[in-house]
Symmetry: C2
């Protein structure tokens, strides 16, 4: 097959070089045949499972096994050139990271409706696994706000964490395990494109909505409320707050929460203003926890209505393998929740990783990231962790603190481990309000109003996606927001395919360039030849009828307008198919029908520059034979010239 | 806005005409701004509700009201020029149509699990309404096999027609009413594109599957079985037949069915061979009914196990308005069934109408057809009819019999009406087996093996759609088949958008034509300039990352390959965006990131020929400013030339 194509093409080369004025039409028809479906599939599968060297270049000559190992564990690549200087930087970054990570983890565990230690557990195991498997150097792994919210809002529809915490926890671990398995399989089957299904605009809207929902959830801790709604939509929360305010509440909680929120925000402002003081914003949450705990302990404010954590459990992650139930009554629901969490977690991690990788100038391998995140979560689910991913705020701190490699994640993990072993009992008196203020302080980073404005300015349809996600999360639920965003995004693609642009082309005076007369009003239409460009890369069932009717409509209009004036009458129609890469049977039928219609009107039809697959299918389906091989051209210019020559010939005959 | 655009463009014209060598880059950036979302919406709505003259041309000068009336009732247009000669042709066609339509209607009513008279009712009212509103001249309206199967297979999941025929009937009328309402609203809101959602390949597969399922259902009548399955999938039916064959059965039914099936098929064969005898095949079903009825009556075969119709009810359509329940317990299910029936009925009618319109050389208005079909069904549902649409087999007979206008439908309707009034009691002794043989004889027309072979040859993915629909209908149910077909069709579009082609271009020697070196191996790559074409009309979130990584990957490979050899090193990358009509924020970000990456590698980036919307968005999002206005060109040739000149300049400086 390939040999014959090569012979054909070399024959074409010869023919081409001999003749002075190249017969480019022949070139179009003699182009090599595109790979068949089988060849393409083999190619895709082969590519997916062929290990590549970590650098992305050609594999080195050392053993295949080492290459494969290096491919799975990038630590083997960077570890060999790791220096003491880098290590010192990583230790500093890791400690800074831990000082921010510990209070955030406790807060997010609270958001996920789990006891505080589970947040810390999640900051121990997943970072270690990621450190040896991940390709990003700056990303900080651990619990994050949006995934914590997702987990709690969806799992509490199955089991109430307040009445049955043990079952709730077991569902959390099952979901974490399944999410890890999904992520691993996305990585193995090269489904990296799945994270692209959430467009940038959708993420902006979704994150902003989620941030507001998370903020509203913190009202419970900030106001020290005992009764609160389980719903996450804004209407239910405001109702719950209003009704709770009628009960007696303790302003002490509010006072603590607000003062530390102001403290954290002030330090962040200072950190932004004076780059050297950025560590101030990194350690301020830890300082807040320590100060507030000491204050409560000293004043025994918990006896006066200030809510404190109380439930603390020291020691390293216990095993949770027995709490994972893969054949329980809720497995189907768990799988559904897991796939949503898996995709959201990956989307966040890859977005964070890519943005920092592009600052440092290296490339992130999406599929390897998925594998690393997946194994982190599988390992996490077996050791009492919930879904971990890359955090926006902590990754930024890690980067600013000068992290050189994933070693900083290891340092952080060790620090959290020491905290779990030694300092857990001090958390007993930590007020809930300070946790709320730590979570609240992390939220502004999730709301990107500037980006939303840019989206509005640049692309109104994208803004609709963004707004849909935002409103869906805020007034519906997290899942509704996601569904709306994905629905609008895909509808956009379908609409674009449904009504492709079909443009009348004109010639730029003095050149052989044909371009849309709508886009370039200086272009002049060629008399007696109507040149039309089909602006879709896939002329398929969904658009074929529209394209056909549009073209036939124009031709009829032109014919009617020139009624009687034989000189101005259209003699030929040139279809510029240079954008059409592929075509399906409906598209081919439409072409045939256009041809039939034009023939019935006594008009010649010519086609220029169809793509490889389109040419092949036109040949196989005999559309080329019907139109005539002589009427397929490489460029619009040639087609128009041929039509004009032909017309002159017939005009003379008349 | 428009004024300023006009000023701009006229300024461009001036600038363009003065300079000899046109600065086409300016042209790209100064192209008029595309219509805004608001303008586009206004345009679409305005277009949808502006009445057009029936001929598709400019509206005549007579009163607007008459135009609007003519628009809704095409009979007012063709009626004025209707001649006696046409009427004679139509009477002949109408009578032929009735002779085929009466037995088919009774058979299809049986397939829809209704009493025989309901099929005849459906051949009276809808054709009358269609005759004054429809735009097709040949289409024959009435019950059809696929819609009858759809109705019975879906409604019997709600109510069993054997145990509760009254409720079943009321659901049928409700579904018919709702289907009519849906069709009318599709027509009003110009949703004609909905019928395009079922691709040609999907219809071929679906029809073939439905034909086999209908054929299997006829085994009940053909074998005279009393107990039969309600499922339509092939496995259940074969099981039911096998278990029924163990009970005593009467070969008389089988004998009658087979002999008349052979008779009908023979006459059809003769009709195909000798075009003048086509009427033989048209009247053979009626002849079969008469002959078999007389034979059964004469031999009293019904006493020996031959199943006969028995239930007959003479007289014109009774009103069924009271049987339509829009707020009953099953309304939601009825609406679901109605929308499926509405779309399938329209797809069939428009496919039939279009193919015959294209033979006669006139254009069918999809939206008007929808209105006409919708009103036919609404009126039908009020007069004891079930969902009617255009039938493949009867339309072909109508066409062959020389129908000139929808008058033939009126003649047929009157004939059926007379039958209902006078001859119904003769149907008492008609054997069920002959109805089965009439339905069976109509099925081969639905199975288009030749077309399936063509689809396989031309487009493998389309064949997968076809096969999916076929297998889905055969082994699942009609709905599953439809869902599979639509799912695969849309997945095809998404996959095409997900992995667009990105091609390296080369120059055809001696010309300024750049084309894909994969498609045209004779094209030569320009040294030091890498030219890449992005082959997608919508560079959006789903493909942006892929395109970016593909381009950056190539550039890096090239840079690595030329390592050390400064002369061969790439100096510039030209992105040919002539296929890119539209772009969204993700696409813009990808462009920016490509630019950033190229800058970091010391490579110049140039863009050529982006579409109107793409240019606009690139300007608004300041991507143009970042790339530099001087690096946007109209054609690849200009871009490459500019890059080469620039490179020579720097090379000299070095």
């Amino acid at each position: 097959m390939e040999a014959s194509a090569a012979v054909e093409s070399s024959a074409t080369v010869a023919a081409f070089e001999v003749s002075r004025r190249p017969d480019t039409g022949k070139l179009v028809l003699n182009s090599p045949s595109p790979p068949s479906l089988r060849e393409e599939l083999v190619g895709v599968v082969g590519k997916a499972f062929r290990p590549r060297a970590a650098g992305g270049g050609r594999p080195p000559r050392c053993a295949w096994a080492l290459t494969a190992l290096q491919c799975v564990f990038p630590v083997l690549t960077w570890g060999r050139t790791y220096t003491l200087k880098s290590f010192r930087s990583d230790v500093m970054a890791g400690l800074t990271l831990a000082s921010l990570g510990i209070p955030q983890s406790i807060g997010y565990a609270n958001l996920a409706k789990l006891d505080p230690q589970y947040g810390l557990y999640t900051s121990v195991v997943p970072p270690l696994i990621y450190a040896v498997m991940g390709t990003s150097r700056e990303i900080a792994i651990g619990p994050v706000a949006v995934v914590s919210l997702l987990l709690s809002s969806m799992i509490q529809n199955v089991v109430d964490p307040a009445t049955d915490p043990a079952t709730y926890r077991s569902l959390v671990f099952t979901v974490t395990f399944l999410a890890g398995v999904f992520q691993v399989s996305f990585g193995l089957f090269r489904l990296g494109f799945l994270v692209d299904f959430l467009s940038h605009a959708a993420i902006v809207g979704f994150m902003a909505g989620a941030a507001i929902v998370i903020g509203l959830q913190q009202l419970k801790g900030l106001l020290g409320l005992s009764h609160f709604t389980n719903s996450t939509d804004i209407v239910s929360v405001i109702k719950a707050v209003c009704s709770a305010l009628h009960d007696p509440w303790h302003p002490g909680n509010f006072l603590i929460g607000c003062s530390f929120l102001i403290f954290i925000l002030t330090t962040r402002f200072i950190g932004r203003r004076y780059k050297k003081l950025f560590w101030l914003s990194a350690i301020s949450p830890l300082v807040s926890v320590i100060l507030s705990t000491v204050a409560v302990y000293a004043t025994r404010a918990d006896k006066h209505g200030v809510k404190i954590i109380q439930k603390v459990h020291a020691g390293l992650n216990p095993s949770s393998a027995k709490q994972i139930h893969l054949n329980g009554p809720h497995t189907a629901e768990c799988a559904k929740i897991a796939i949503i969490c898996a995709v959201i977690a990956l989307t966040e991690a890859i977005a964070v990783g890519r943005s920092f990788a592009s600052i440092r100038g290296y490339k992130l391998d999406g599929n390897k990231e998925m594998l690393a995140m997946g194994f982190s979560n599988v390992a996490g689910s077996l050791s009492s962790c919930y879904v971990a991913t890359g955090s926006f705020s902590r990754t930024a701190v890690n980067f600013s603190a000068g992290a050189r490699s994933t070693m900083s994640n290891i340092i952080m993990s060790i620090t959290v481990f020491i905290t779990l072993e030694l300092f857990m009992k001090f958390l007993y008196y930590t007020p809930m309000a300070v946790l709320a203020s730590i979570i609240l302080s992390a939220l502004p980073g999730l709301i990107d109003i500037k980006e939303a404005c840019t989206i509005w300015k640049v692309d109104k349809m994208d803004f609709v996606t963004c707004l849909g996600a935002f409103v869906g999360v805020l007034f519906g639920s997290v899942e509704i927001g996601l569904a709306v965003a994905i629905g609008i995004s895909f509808a956009k693609i379908i609409i674009q395919s449904l009504r492709p642009q079909v443009e009348v082309l004109g010639r730029l005076q003095g050149t052989n360039i044909f371009c849309s007369i709508r886009q370039y009003p200086v272009a002049c239409r060629t008399p007696t030849v109507l040149t039309i460009r089909i602006d879709t890369s896939f002329m398929c069932f969904i658009s074929a009828t529209y394209i056909k009717e549009r073209i036939i409509g124009w031709v009829r209009e032109e014919v009617e307008m020139s009624n009687g004036k034989a000189r101005e009458r259209i003699q030929a129609v040139v279809l510029d198919m240079s954008s059409v890469v592929n075509i399906d049977t409906s598209g081919l039928t439409a072409l045939e029908e256009i041809h039939k219609e034009l023939v019935s009107l006594g008009i010649q039809m010519a086609i220029s520059g169809p793509g490889l697959n389109a040419v092949q299918k036109m040949k196989v389906s005999r559309v080329v034979d019907r139109i005539g091989e002589d009427w397929i051209f490489l460029t619009v210019g040639e087609a128009v010239e041929a039509c004009l020559t032909e017309h002159k010939g017939t005009a003379l005959e008349c």
